[in-house]
Symmetry: C2
Subunit: 377 residues, 2 copies
Amino acid sequence: ISNLDLEIGALDKGGFEHFMLKEIYEQPLTLEETFRGRLRNDHSEIVLGGLLDVFPKLEQAGRIIIIGCGTSWHAALIGEYLIEEYAQTPVEVEYASEFRYRNPVIGEKDVVILISQSGETADTLAALRLAKEKGATVLGICNVAGSSLARETDAGVYTHAGVEVGVASTKAFTAQVAVLTMIALQLAKRKETIDAETYRMLVKELSETPAKGRLILESNKKIAAIAEKYKEAVNALYLGRGYLFPVALEGALKLKEISYVHAEGYAAGEMKHGPIALIDDNLPVIVVAPQDAYYEKVVSNIQEVKARKGNVIAVVTEGDTGLHEMVNDVIEIPRSHLAVAPLLAVIPLQLLAYHIAVLKGCDVDRPRNLAKSVTVE
Amino acid sequence: ISNLDLEIGALDKGGFEHFMLKEIYEQPLTLEETFRGRLRNDHSEIVLGGLLDVFPKLEQAGRIIIIGCGTSWHAALIGEYLIEEYAQTPVEVEYASEFRYRNPVIGEKDVVILISQSGETADTLAALRLAKEKGATVLGICNVAGSSLARETDAGVYTHAGVEVGVASTKAFTAQVAVLTMIALQLAKRKETIDAETYRMLVKELSETPAKGRLILESNKKIAAIAEKYKEAVNALYLGRGYLFPVALEGALKLKEISYVHAEGYAAGEMKHGPIALIDDNLPVIVVAPQDAYYEKVVSNIQEVKARKGNVIAVVTEGDTGLHEMVNDVIEIPRSHLAVAPLLAVIPLQLLAYHIAVLKGCDVDRPRNLAKSVTVE
């Protein structure tokens, strides 16, 4: 492990009050960096140089296992949905800390993808070594060049998110999701489980996410005003379906990490099986509800929350005025294909968590009890 | 759907104050009912008559997918760990509400197991129909004979838990886990992935769980006294590893459902990746920490919580005095093999949730906003 001996104070916040806010704002740029040289301009191809030699293994994989901790585990869940949907390869997602202590079923035909921003997360490295021992092909997705994860995997893809200082990961998450989306689409293309038109359309959608991300950042002041309304909340619920279920988990984790509000994410369809009992007029419920295949179902979830006097903050597709009257607060995001929506929908949730934490007087960049990378077990 | 037109008041609480408490106490008996005729007295065999014709399919399955909602989903997670450990078949667990709305990778070699107490959970039935459409073998685990789940699956196993009235499921959960454990062990025997000695030892362990469950129920008064100390808590964290990670999730769900305390379960190894930020001297942390393969790791988690002034209630193996000084409150459970520990460790968590809810004046058998079985989508 190389220690850079960086003092937080010595790094430039670029005019932002906190590193976290700076890093949230950097996401359109870091997405561009992560796509650079990988997405062809005519949307005809995704080139992932680091995986060229191992793509045949990925194509033949009976199963892909994606492993991470915390935020990386949320990115892994999105990867699972994308790879199963488009490449039709069964995917299993595991917590590194669980995987390493059991006797997981892994064979030589399996491919294990490990995700860690720092590339030094202790449990993730232990999982990597276990998977290697069992003969699996091991791939890494990490942000730090030359990290243990990068050195010990058979191949991998770097997220080019740049140094992330804020303990609560933001731009590293979106870069991880961007990489997983590229892997899913390219694998689908090679396996011929996606038609040429859909592939090109989705590559184009991916290439448009940086610009759409910039539009979302323009809502920052509006989101700060919403945060002001909910800054006294001590609990919060985050709901989403499909690709946006892990985004709900990630939004809840951000708030939990930096504001110490007990926020919990749920698959919206699970609400009726327990968490709905929590809902009263004190509980803010953040619903990720863009217009997509699950839209009607999510609207029905919102109605259930409102019927129990819950306060709903909805992340909706721009122009979806139908929801405005139903909910307490609305944050609009540009229309996009569902497959790339996680890259956009997470941004307002990061900003909401940030502003609530600042209003609560929390040390956003160095939240209590947490380390930037968990290098102990 | 046959409506029995039962009035809650018309059923017999058998001297207990609430159906939920009655049903918690019935668990040793319902475990015996679920094992009756299935566990041979000499521990040489598990007979699951309903699965005899489909065991070859299970043996050849490339993958087993277990689907449920809420408490059944927690049982499914335990099933995953058991089947992967002993039968070495890859298992994927899915929320019914998520599975049914995506394009899941399922083939004719896959076996899908659906779990629902009522056998009428709408999302689970929809998932069942989707899995059938895709050509998978579909098996059911349910408690209500003649339910839609029982009728529409290819085969299955009934949990003989009897009528469950309390909205928060207790005895149906332990019966589901008992059935999954029997399936895992019998599949392992048929696949020859377990040696004869281990198999016999685990069948014996299973057969001993009713008696051990009765011993745990003797701690009821002690658990009520612990509940008294934490009745004002508005949040709680539940931690466990391995087989006991889903038990932590289930313990948290019980508290959430009936007392409206925002309780959340976590794999203990994930604590450092976010939830540790929540810990202060107001937050009770319930740690499921029997002496097992993960014991040292869980003790280290407890130390981290204590270092941050958290209050720890630990579920420990009887006689494990080492932990007594470290934590605030201790609940002992009899020593057992880890593979059957979920059937025991969940009981004190059910009792803790029950007593906290009663002390808070909540309507334990009919918690707000919740239905016994969710027959709408």
